[in-house]
Symmetry: C2
Subunit: 576 residues, 2 copies
């Protein structure tokens, strides 16, 4: 007998099969019937405070879990979320954006109903979404709905980018054939080709002949699904390894041959000379934005580089398409004869980041950006997810030495301030689900730790309520430096447009519904910060905890921000 199910159940069963445990979003009248099926399908309904935040949260969830989902309503809901979808597109978060749309009759009659622009054209929003999603589908026909769903989900997985599914209100409960559900959706395998072997053998030869090899791990390594391969490469070759901004947190920084971030023109001379002088740079998962690469100075020399990217394998300046990095690395690792690698004695001692202890600073001193990150470093422990929001925090967290299995969210390319707090909700939820199902490196009790500036916090503050509502294990360090310091660094250091309103930030947990005894504390000096960090409830409590750290509005971590700030300070004649 023909097994049937409904469109909604088909869709949600697929999500469940693919490892999605929770759906983010906001109810709206065009999606309510769809929402009827979420919880019965075994998924958690998160229920965010607004759609932009829901989108950011689904993104954070997706980057930790491997896939995330978001449900919004037609027009008003989906457009509020579109900036989050653009973020997910740019930085490769596989988010399935499901939109409940008006009934098919309403659409085909071009009726002027609410949540439309009033011109009878129901395709505006789909067209807008197509710019920021890698595949789109509109479920107008129950006969083809299962295949349509499967196709976009596969595209989401292949490209690790958001997709867009429109579900008209009146098709939600339509019957569809359930048969496909017995087959898994998967990323298609590479088809072997003798030509590929020749290329990969040449990579191996380059590896065997390398005198000064280096490995650079960039952010697309995650999206390409080659983290395990790269980890094996790093640990088996024991070659000096660095990361880019978005690569940080993807590879175990506690390994002796992993020397932290490569900052290009901002790097120390030893590291820069070594990478510039290397004769082979295995460059995994390049993400070539200015912000990720210190204006493209933080990448290897082309002649030395072999890039494993979305386009294929690039040796020097010759790109070989159609060989996926996953396939290539599998083959290379299988064939690699470690004994043939040259033993290098010439590896210099790279200056590693240093932790700082409170005994090395004066307790009375005001907290400053140059030291605080290395002091906060001691708070982290294996399995934590660390967020450094765009702003001084995003640069500060780069100075931290991350414990094993610690994932890091830093500004990569989209840099939408306000992203990190909601993304933190999604990531913390995924982390909890993974721990609950023992899929989290045998770690329990890991936390999600957010470092965020006051200006960014104001953008999406209400998502703290969702963190509280789901009792997620989140510690928020709020940097109160009286405005948009990152913008002050760039331009208009003392201009009023970089000021923000003054909030009583530590009232946030109580306002947003946390128990009245939720942990909050503030610190203006190193001594105060030391006392705060010692509190058992901060490190090992449950639910949200919040610490307000006061810093100067014209203070930034060393690096590009300080450089920009100094330029403005020096330009005395110029109106700041």
């Amino acid at each position: 007998m023909l097994q049937t199910t409904t469109v909604a159940e088909y869709l949600f069963t697929r999500l469940k099969q693919l490892g999605v445990g929770a759906v983010h979003g906001i109810p709206g009248d065009y999606n309510l019937r769809l929402l009827d099926y979420v919880v019965p399908s075994g998924l958690l309904w998160v229920g965010n405070t607004n759609e932009l935040n829901a989108g950011y949260a689904a993104d954070g969830y997706a980057r930790i879990n491997g896939l995330g989902a978001l449900i919004t309503t037609y027009g008003v809901g989906e457009l509020s979320a579109i900036n989050a979808i653009a973020c997910a597109f740019t930085e490769r978060a596989p988010v399935i954006h499901i939109v409940g749309t008006p009934p098919r009759n309403t659409q085909s009659s071009r009726l002027m109903v609410h949540h439309t622009l009033g011109d009878g054209d129901y395709r505006h929003f789909g067209q807008m979404q197509s710019h920021v999603t890698v595949a789109q589908t509109n479920l107008l026909d129950p006969r083809t709905a299962p295949q349509q769903i499967d196709q976009v989900l596969q595209q989401c997985m292949i490209h690790c980018r958001p997709v867009y599914i429109e579900v008209p209100l009146d098709i939600v409960s339509a019957s569809v054939v359930a048969e496909n559900l017995t087959h898994e959706i998967a990323v298609p395998r590479d088809v072997p080709n003798p030509a590929y072997d020749v290329i990969l053998d040449s990579v191996l030869e380059r590896m065997y002949s390398a005198e000064r090899p280096v490995i650079l791990v960039d952010g697309e390594t995650r999206a390409l699904g080659i983290l395990d391969h790269v980890e094996r490469m790093v640990s088996s070759t024991v070659w000096p390894t660095f990361t880019t901004t978005s690569g940080k947190g993807l590879i175990n920084e506690t390994l002796l041959n992993v020397h932290g971030m490569y900052r290009g023109s901002f790097a120390d001379a030893t590291t820069k000379a070594f990478i510039d002088g290397s004769d082979l740079a295995l460059y995994f998962g390049p993400h070539l934005s200015s912000t990720n690469t210190y204006n493209w100075t933080g990448v290897p020399q082309t002649a030395a580089a072999i890039c494993f990217s979305w386009d294929g394998i690039k040796i020097g300046d010759v790109l070989h398409r159609d060989i996926s990095p996953q396939y290539a690395l599998t083959q290379i690792l299988r064939k690699l004869d470690l004994k043939r690698l040259k033993k290098s004695d010439s590896c210099p001692t790279f200056p590693r980041g240093q932790l700082l202890s409170f005994s090395e600073v004066s307790g009375d001193e005001s907290i400053k950006q140059d030291k605080v990150w290395r002091l906060l470093n001691s708070f982290l422990r294996p399995g934590d997810i660390v967020f450094g929001e765009t702003g001084t925090a995003g640069y500060g967290v780069r100075e931290m030495l991350l414990p094993e299995h610690t994932r890091l969210f830093t500004p990569i390319t989209w840099l939408s301030i306000g992203y990190m707090l909601p993304a933190c909700q999604g990531a913390a939820l995924a982390q909890r689900e993974l721990m609950a199902s023992s899929k989290y490196h045998e770690i329990e009790g890991a936390r999600t730790v957010l470092f965020i500036g006051d200006g960014s916090f104001q953008m999406t503050a209400q998502e703290l309520a969702t963190i509280i509502r789901h009792d997620l294990n989140v510690v928020v360090f709020l940097i109160n430096n009286d405005g948009y310091t990152i913008e002050r660094c760039i331009h208009g250091m003392k201009k009023g447009y970089n000021d923000i309103s003054t909030w009583r930030y530590l009232k946030a947990p109580s306002f947003f519904g946390a128990p009245e005894d939720a942990f909050t504390a503030s610190a203006r000096t190193y001594g105060e910060l030391e006392q705060v960090l010692k509190q058992e409830k901060l490190a090992n409590g449950t639910g949200v905890r919040m610490v307000e750290i006061y810093m100067d509005r014209y203070d930034a971590p060393a690096g590009p921000l300080t450089m920009l700030l100094d330029r403005q300070k020096e330009a005395k004649g110029v109106d700041l």
Copy 2:
């Protein structure tokens, strides 16, 4: 000698000339240099908490002031605001959306910089914005920049809809010819045509022969710029006059021949029979969405109707294009011989909305939707701007009898919840500016009063901080009914997805930075509400004041919501 100025100064001088006093928005690195020119041009920089809110605020400002402006940054900023721009497009708020974009070199080199999708294509966002704006321009050439600016501003004024202006970072300070600034930008005049006179004479004849005439004032009356004409028509003919949802607050409800809102199928029998039986319905500014017209039942019969709309003048089902309502009404009012209008004795007594006094209710009784709006009515006074957010509040405020010069914001078509709080910031600022320049009906001390549900409040709560920061005269009545009651009415009355997190709402003013003695109060019973409303500080205080009113989660004002709710309550077998 050739007078020159900069692109930025040209643009902001135009805004100032057109009566814009304040610019909403958020700084971002691509717009910082543009922001340098805002305050020196004599404009107030508002500085909102996020871009969606800034967009809503600019919309609220525009609907009160006549024109509003918003500055965001490329990509992240403008996309966060796009839902607000869609709202402004749909409901006709003339918002000038100015976006600071990357330098022209960066764009033409297709560099992968931050705030881009990373594919080198800089046109994605402009294409997305074109769906929700009536004109777009990209200032790439200083020689044409002045004309480009003038053209889109004129389109904004003609259509009363948002426009989109891209300003690359490196053109901000480029020199342009200033000459155009000596000529005003204005909506082009109608070109007279003898054929129009024939048509307008036929309208006059219909007016003279009408036995049972009626006037219906709809929301586009504002955007069409015919409020004064319509007011003269209403007061001179003394014909029975009604409004639609979005027409309410546009015409003086205290006039004896203005009988409040026409609710179509939800109207009382007397009103419905009268309008259905009228032989002439002058229908001003139709806005024909389902939500504005009680599913199209709240409009006059076609045969009787003469519509004054964006398309022209429609008599019965014959549309005469190219005659603007403004032109038509000017001519009609000039020619109209009031003595030739028939005297009607047959006008029934329409049931007017009734105020309710606290002496008519029991002080111990819980506050309910059926009475509270008529009790709250006494709080309003001339010149107030009243907001009823989408939800029960949006229906509740329709029951209020508005004092003279009271403008009302109700859900019209876009219905994006979260809109009203930021829009309230914009409207209150415009109100203050108008009062300060004595352009507000000789009224001083008018307030902006927001009625909003808890779910809506959560969406954009942080904009309360901007209201506080600018010390705007805003009273917030927050309806705490434990979730999205409007969605409960539509579907899933008891479903978890219509629940929200529980906040301590009255902590909002303090959290968002108001003085610690800012007025807050709560009421669960009519007695408590009466006491609260008596407080001098609530009615006549300054800055933000907030009242939390508790109501039942399954309670809604009479009308469509109650009908939907009752249907669900009756469907006993159905899983709610």
